[in-house]
């Protein structure tokens, strides 16, 4: 694993539409992220950062160029192979939490483990441990409707890390939260990155939140405008 970076984008482009209506969401990106990094992705809307996140998360494939995840060329994988890659290596945290409603926190966290085909006892143990790690041990039987926004995002984070992924992709995780909750979530992500060594790539609009990361990449017009490491 040390031989190559976790993620490597080489001349990646993404085009939508055809003919005159053609639009270049990504105009040729070179980017490489190593295991254990905490990266913040910034940029105005339409700058291509969301498209880039979708490609990094293997939800989408590049139109041109090459994306390698742990050395594997994702562009050459089928839809199902990409699903398996996500199942085993990637965790997602969304701005809108995206929990299953009317479903308890425990069952929400269990969901990725069910797809991994784990037995009930292991599933319960791991899900409880993950909820404990995000500080919601006492809320496992609560449904999203009974939890605050900050708590819901913690459940979502627990769901993302319960599989111990190599990469955690967070798409504006604090976008729907007030500043106090935002700080709590950022501290949680920092701890996950530091203690479990999970690589975190996070999109954010807020410079305050980006400051928690160790590296900030700014997008503009489908290209990387700046890429700077923050000294610790």
């Amino acid at each position: 694993m040390a031989d190559h970076p976790l993620l490597a984008l080489q001349g990646v482009t993404k085009t939508y539409g055809t003919g005159d209506a053609q639009m270049h969401a990504l105009a040729g990106i070179n980017l490489s992220i190593n295991p254990g990094e905490f990266v913040a992705v910034m940029g105005p809307s339409g700058s291509g950062k969301s498209t880039c996140m979708n490609i990094l998360g293997c939800l989408d494939t590049p139109s041109g160029g090459e994306y390698r995840f742990q050395g594997v060329n994702v562009g050459g994988l089928t839809r199902n192979q990409r699903a398996l890659l996500r199942r085993h290596y990637i965790g997602f945290v969304f701005q809108g939490f995206n929990l299953l409603n009317r479903t308890t926190a425990l069952e929400n966290v269990e969901l990725p483990l069910i797809y991994r085909g784990m037995d009930t006892a292991t599933r319960h143990r791991l899900a409880k441990a993950a909820l404990d790690a995000v500080g919601l041990a006492s809320r496992e039987s609560h449904t999203p409707g009974e939890l605050s926004g900050g708590q819901q995002q913690r459940v979502a984070i627990a769901r993302a890390i319960v599989t111990e992924p190599a990469l955690l992709l967070a798409d504006e995780p604090t976008g729907n939260l007030d500043s106090k909750r935002s700080i709590e979530i950022m501290e949680l992500l920092t701890a996950i990155n530091r203690d479990q060594g999970i690589t975190v790539v996070m999109v954010t609009h807020e410079p305050d939140m980006a400051d928690y990361a160790k590296r900030i990449i700014s997008f503009k017009d489908g290209l990387i405008e700046s890429d700077r490491k923050l000294g610790d």
Binding site: A83, L85, F92
Partner: protein
């Protein structure tokens, strides 16, 4: 993988419990309708065939008048006792011939009175119409000839006039005739037409003609044909003899009618079967509508749960796993609905068969068919929505509001 699909499907159904129940309702009603109709229909068919057996073997009914249509006759001269005797003597292959003169009369005992059908006939009547005695005795041939004042009554008349009392050796009054009850007939139940066959009083023909009717008429001749005889042939012979006796010219139509009870019974049972078939078809249509209801709900559900499907796909669910989950949801709804429908139907059919006085006939075949059909409905109508769900693009699905 299937185990996971069931786990996920059950969790999803539980999340929308109310909708799940409403979706099942269509299937429940469809399955229940089919099973109730078929169960009651086969009960009715069995009842008809039992009644055919109880009619007595190879019964022919010779009645006065031309058949104008179902149940209608035009007026014509009545038979006489001599006609019946002529048939008994001249037609080969008859087991018994019973001339019957009957009318509606009020029977009176003490303070009780009951309007019933009184038949004057010979002792042959009991064997022809297959009505053995339950208590007491039947009247004899000599009593019939002499016209003594005795009578045999049906169970209904016994109950209405005597209640719990023993009717034997008591005298009841029929108009001006006072007669002694010498026997009570065995219960026979309802006829195929729905009339009570136990609501009758039987007196000797001569007694009836002299003391009640005041004429020598015979309205009906009941004939039982010997086993193994061709009833069609016997019927023709009877018609020939009666035409001569009633002086009908070759150009004239019969002014009497010979009915073969077996034909009527067969007709009734085929009518019952046709009705059952038609009602089952209606039930099957409602089952189909239930299936379309499931498809409808599943399609709505896929649209409504687009985001949820997006989440599943994003965290690594395979296309097939999503397909299977939605398919299992549909099949669970339809087959569970089928199961509830079967239980409801068996209860309803049992209750209704008691109410309608038809035997309850458990039809294992139709129950199994209905269950398999409902499960199949789930697979067929669930597949399209399930495929739609599985083929969603996770990015689009997650963006869905």
């Amino acid at each position: 993988m299937l185990g996971n699909a069931f786990l996920l499907a059950f969790r999803a159904l539980r999340r929308n419990a109310m909708r799940s129940v409403l979706t099942m309702l269509g299937i429940i009603i469809g399955v229940a309708a089919v099973i109730v109709v078929v169960t009651l229909g086969s009960g009715a068919t069995r009842q008809v065939s039992q009644q055919v057996a109880s009619l007595g073997s190879n019964l022919l009914m010779v009645s006065v008048g031309k058949r104008m249509g179902p149940g209608q006759v035009s007026g014509a001269e009545a038979f006489k006792l001599a006609d019946a005797e002529a048939l008994a003597n001249d037609v080969y292959g008859l087991a018994a011939v019973a001339p019957v003169a009957s009318g509606s009369t009020t029977a009176i005992y003490a303070n009780e009175n009951w309007s019933t059908n009184v038949s004057g006939t010979t002792d042959a009547f009991f064997s022809v119409s297959n009505q053995p005695v339950a208590e007491g005795r039947l009247f004899t041939a000599s009593e019939a000839r002499l016209g003594t004042a005795v009578c045999v009554i049906g169970q209904t008349v016994a109950a209405k006039l005597f209640g719990l009392q023993n009717p034997l050796n008591n005298r009841i009054r029929l108009q001006k005739l006072s007669c002694e009850v010498i026997g009570v007939l065995k219960a026979k139940g309802q006829s195929t037409m729905g009339t009570d066959q136990d609501d009758l009083v039987v007196v000797p023909l001569r007694t009836y003609q002299r003391r009640i009717a005041g004429n020598q008429d015979v309205n009906l001749i009941k004939i039982s044909v010997q086993d193994g005889q061709d009833t069609e042939k016997v019927k023709h012979e009877i018609e020939g003899i009666l035409r001569v006796r009633r002086h009908l010219a070759n150009t004239e139509e019969n002014n009497f009618n010979v009915m073969d009870m077996k034909e009527i019974a067969a007709m009734l049972s085929s009518t019952t079967q046709t009705m059952t078939g038609m009602l089952s078809a209606v039930g099957a249509v409602s089952l189909l509508v239930g299936g379309i209801g499931i498809m409808n709900i599943m399609l709505v559900s896929v649209t409504e749960r687009t985001r949820e499907i997006g989440i599943r796909l994003a965290i690594g669910a395979l296309e097939n796993e999503v397909l299977l989950q939605f398919l299992v949801e549909a099949v669970v709804l339809s087959s569970f609905g089928g199961l509830i429908g079967i239980l409801l139907a068996l209860g309803a059919a049992w209750g209704l068969s008691g109410l309608m006085q038809v035997p309850f006939v458990f039809q294992g075949g139709i129950v199994l068919t209905a269950f398999l059909f409902s499960a199949a409905v789930g697979v067929i109508f669930g597949y399209f929505p399930a495929r739609k769900a599985a083929r969603l693009d996770p990015i689009e699905a997650l963006r869905h509001e």
